[in-house]
C-alpha cells in the first residue's frame, strides 16, 4: 500500500503568511530529523519508509493550536505538535499494516459515515411546484389529526360481573333505538364526559385511556358499541361523526414540507450511491440463518 504525504491543511488558512516563513520550514525539517532519529534509532534497520511532514501540515498544526489558545505556538510547542503528529502517523501506518482497521466496528462505522457524508448532496432548494407535489404525494404526513364526535354511557365497575351484565342490558336497549335520556337506567354519573366533539385520538386517550380510544377508533359510525372495560369501569360508546385529517395548504406547513422533501432527497441520494457501489460486488451469504437468530 502506498502512503502519500499528507496534502491536507484545508482548515489551515489562518496564519498562512507567517507560517510560510523559512524559520518554520527549518523547524519542520529539524523536527523531522529528530523524529526519524528517535524512531529508527541508532544502529537499527535502515528506514524502509519515509514520513514527510509537509509545510501545509505544519501550518495546519500551528493554526489548530492558535484556534485553541488565541496565540501562535512557541518553537517548543510547535516541535511538540509536530512530534505528536509524526507519532500518530507512525502508529496509523503500523496499524494499517497490521490490519488493525479491519475488524474494528468503530472504524468501519466511521468510514461508512464518511462515505454517506460524501454521498449527501446537502440541503437543496425546492421550487414551489416541487413542494406542492411533495405535499400532495404525502398529504397524510402533514394532515391535521382526524376528529371524532362520540357519546358515552358509563357503568361503574362495582361488583364486576353484575356491572358487566348491567352494561350488556343497557347496550341492548340503546341498540334497539332507545335514546339515552329515556332509559330507566341511564348509567352512572361520572367525571368522565358523556360526549366529546371534535376529539382527536390523543384527546380521547388522554381523557379515557387507551382501551376506550382503541374501541372508538375501530367503531362503525352510528351503532352503539361495548361494553369496553377501562380503569374507570364499563363504557358504551356511539360514534356520531368522524372526519379524517385534511392536509393544510402549503403556506401553513412550508417549513415542514421543505424539511421532509430535503430529507427525502438526501435519502434518495444516499440510496442511489449505495446501489451504484453495490453493482461492483457479487454478494454471497454463507450458511443458513436460523429462524430464531434472524428474529432476534
Amino acid at each position: 500500500m502506498a502512503h502519500r504525504p499528507d496534502e491536507g491543511g484545508g482548515a489551515a488558512g489562518v496564519r498562512r503568511n507567517l507560517l510560510r516563513e523559512p524559520l518554520v520550514h527549518f523547524l519542520a525539517a529539524g523536527a523531522l530529523l529528530f523524529v526519524l532519529y528517535a524512531v529508527v534509532g541508532e544502529g537499527g534497520d535502515a528506514p524502509e519508509d519515509s514520513i514527510t511532514v509537509s509545510a501545509a501540515r505544519v501550518e495546519a498544526l500551528a493554526a489548530g493550536f492558535e484556534r485553541a489558545w488565541a496565540r501562535p505556538p512557541t518553537r517548543a510547542e510547535l516541535d511538540e505538535l509536530i512530534d505528536e503528529y509524526v507519532v500518530e502517523e507512525i502508529y496509523y501506518r503500523e496499524a494499517l499494516a497490521a490490519g488493525l482497521d479491519r475488524d474494528d466496528t468503530v472504524i468501519r462505522r466511521r468510514l461508512r459515515q464518511k462515505m454517506e457524508f460524501l454521498a449527501d448532496p446537502g440541503p437543496a432548494d425546492a421550487t414551489d411546484a416541487e413542494l406542492e407535489a411533495h405535499l400532495a404525494r404525502h398529504a397524510e404526513r402533514f394532515a391535521g389529526p382526524g376528529r371524532t364526535d362520540f357519546r358515552h354511557v358509563f357503568i361503574a365497575a362495582d361488583g364486576d360481573a353484575a356491572a358487566e351484565r348491567r352494561a350488556a342490558r343497557l347496550l341492548a336497549q340503546l341498540r334497539s333505538g332507545q335514546p339515552v335520556a329515556s332509559l330507566a337506567d341511564p348509567g352512572d354519573a361520572t367525571l368522565l364526559p358523556s360526549a366529546m366533539e371534535g376529539a382527536t385520538d390523543r384527546d380521547i386517550e388522554s381523557v379515557f385511556g387507551g382501551e376506550v380510544q382503541a374501541a372508538i377508533a375501530g367503531a362503525p359510525l352510528g351503532a352503539w358499541q361495548g361494553p369496553v372495560r377501562s380503569g374507570y369501569g364499563w363504557h358504551l360508546l356511539q360514534v356520531t361523526a368522524r372526519v379524517a385529517g385534511t392536509a393544510p395548504p402549503l403556506d401553513l406547513v412550508r417549513p415542514q414540507v421543505l424539511a421532509d422533501w430535503q430529507e427525502e432527497q438526501r435519502r434518495a441520494a444516499v440510496a442511489a450511491n449505495v446501489d451504484q457501489l453495490r453493482r461492483r460486488y457479487r454478494v454471497t451469504v454463507e450458511g443458513a440463518v436460523a429462524d430464531g437468530a434472524a428474529r432476534r
Partner: protein
Amino acid sequence: MPIAALRRTLCAAVLAATTGPAMAAGGASAGLPAPDADTAARGHTQKPVYSPYASRGYPTRPFFGDTHLHTSFSMDAGAFGARLTPRDAYRFARGNEVTASSGQPVKLSRPLDFLVVADHSDGMGFFPQVMAGGAAVMADPQGRKWHDMIRGGQGAEAAIEIIRSFGAGSLPKDLVSVPGTAAYRDAWQATIAAAEEANQPGVFTAFIGYEWTSNTGANNLHRNVIYRDGADLARQLEPLITMKPWGSDNPADLWKWMAGYEDKTGGNVLAIAHNGNLSNGLMFPTVEAFGRKLDRGYVEGRARWERLYEVTQTKGTGEAHPFLSPNDEFAGFELWDKGNLDGSVAKTPDMLRYEYAREALKAGLVLEQKLGTNPYKFGLIGSSDAHNGLAAMEEDNFFGKTTPQEPSPERLTKTFVADMRTGVKIMDWEVGASGYAAVWATENTREAIFDAMERRETYATTGPRIVVRFFGGWDFTDADAGGRMPASVGYSKGVPMGGDLRAAPPGKVPTFLVAALKDPLGANLDRIQVVKGWVDAKGGVNEKVYDVAWGDADRRKPAADGKLPPVGSTVDVANATWTNTIGDPELITVWQDPDFDPRQRAFYYARVLEIPTPRWTAYDAKRFGIEPLAGTSMTLQERAYTAPIWYTP
C-alpha cells in the same frame, strides 16, 4: 393583574360595552324608527342553548405539562453530561422517542400537552461552548481545565466545580456568556427557534421561557419566566441574568425587568418561583428581603408577577413540613430539608416556615392585613426541573434529574450532593419522580394556557395525570355532587381553584364542590382532603386538614376521633407491582366548612392522594436486580395539590 393583561381585559370590556349601543344608535341614525322592545326581542332571540355541550365557555379538561425543564443549554446540565437540546426536549415532550444523553432510548407513556424549556439565563449556551473548546473557553485556564476534564471523562467532577463556582460567584468573567455577546444571542435565538418550531396551537404548546437563577450563597431563589408571546416579541430583549453588572440576584429587579419587557414589546410574561425548600429561609420573607423592609412595593410586585408557585419537583416537595404541620399525617412527603442547594449551609428548623407553601399561604393572609396586598396569593403547579431535556416523571419511566441519574444500576446507591464540612448529604435515591403542572385552560394554546396560569386555575401533581376539580361558593348542595356535569354547576354557582369567594351572604358558610378522577393509566384514589388556613381574632395563623371524600367508603369509616383509617396497600415491592383493588377511580363530594367565621381571612385548597404505588426506586431494584441502601423509600402515595380559593371578609 399585569398591566398588559389588564389592558386586554379592559379592551374586551370596552368592546362589549360599545357593540350593543352602537348598533341601536346606528339603526336610528340611518332613518329607521327605533324598534320597540317586542320587535327587538324577536330580532335578538336569546333562547337558552339546548345542547349541553355547545359553546361551553369553561375549560373541559386540564392540560398537563412541565414549566421547568433544562437542556444542554443550561451550563450545569451540560456539565453533567446532557447533550439534548431544546429541540430534542420539545420532540420528547410531544411523545416522540429520543435517545437520552446516556445513550438509552426513551419515550413517554403519552405526550405532554405543553412544555417550557427554561434554561438558566446565566451562561446560557455555555456548555456547548466548553464542549466545543471555543476560543474564549480555551484561553481561560479554568475553562481549559473544565474542557479537558469533560473530554477526559471527568464530566461529573467538572460539573460540580462549575456549579460551585457559579454558586460562589467566582465563575471566570471571560467565560460567562452575557447578554449582548454573540454567543448569548445565538443561544437565546436557538431557544426561541426550538419553541416556535414545536408550538402547534390546539395540539401542543411550546412556550418560550428561561430560568433566572438567583443563587447567592447557594440559597435557591430561582424563578422560571414564561412568555405568552412568540418569537417576534421574545427576541426583542435578551433574558435577565443574575451576574452583576449585567443583571441582579434580587427578585424585585426581575419584576422590573418583566415590566420593562411588557412595556417595550406589549407582550406578557409571568414568573414561577422554584420550590423554596433549598432557599434556607429566604423564599417567603415576611419582614425584609435583600436588606429592605418588606413594603408595599415588594408585596405588590410579588403578587403581580408571581401568581404561581412550584410546589413539587425532582428536588423534593414543598407543600408542608411535619415540623410546621405536626397534625398533618401526610406532610412528610419527599422532603429535602437538609440544607441549601449545594449543602454548604445546613438547615435549621427556624428556616422552614419561610420555605413551605402552606406556611406562605398563611403568612400571606397576615401580610395582606398589614400591607393591603397578599404577596403569597399563588396557585400551585408541579414541574420537573430535570436537567437532561427529559420531562419523564413517571415512576416506572423515570429518567432522573441529571444525565448521571438516568437509569443505571448505580443510581440507587450513588451520592448526589455531599458537603463534608456541614455533613449535608443527599443520595440519588432521594430525587423524586415529580412532577407536572395541570392547567384548566379553554384550549391548548400559548394564550389560553398562559391566561389560565394568570388566573391561577392550576394544580400540581407529583407525576400522575389525576384530574381535579375544585369550586367554592355559598350554595353548593349534595345534589351538585350527584350530577353528570359538575363543572357546569361549579362554574355557574361558584369560582374555580385560584379564585376568590364572592362576598359572604349573611348566615352562609363556604361550600366546596370537589372531585377527582384517577389517571387513566394510574392508581386509584385514596382520598380528597381540604386544607384550610386562616387568621384568627388574635392575628395568629392556623391550619386544619379535613378528609372530605375517600375510596372504599362502604367499608371504610372515620374512627371515633374523626381519623380516617389508611387505605391499605397492594404494593409488592420486590416485583414493583400494585393492583387497583383498593381505593376508587373517582371521588366527588360537596363539603362545607364546619368552623367558618365570616370575620376571618382564610384559604382552602384540595389535596388528592392516590393509593400507595411502587416508587421509582422499586422499579430500579427490580429491573437492575440491585439491593437498595437501608432507608431507601420504595413506595409512595402520589398526590395533587390545587390552587387555593381565598375568602376575604
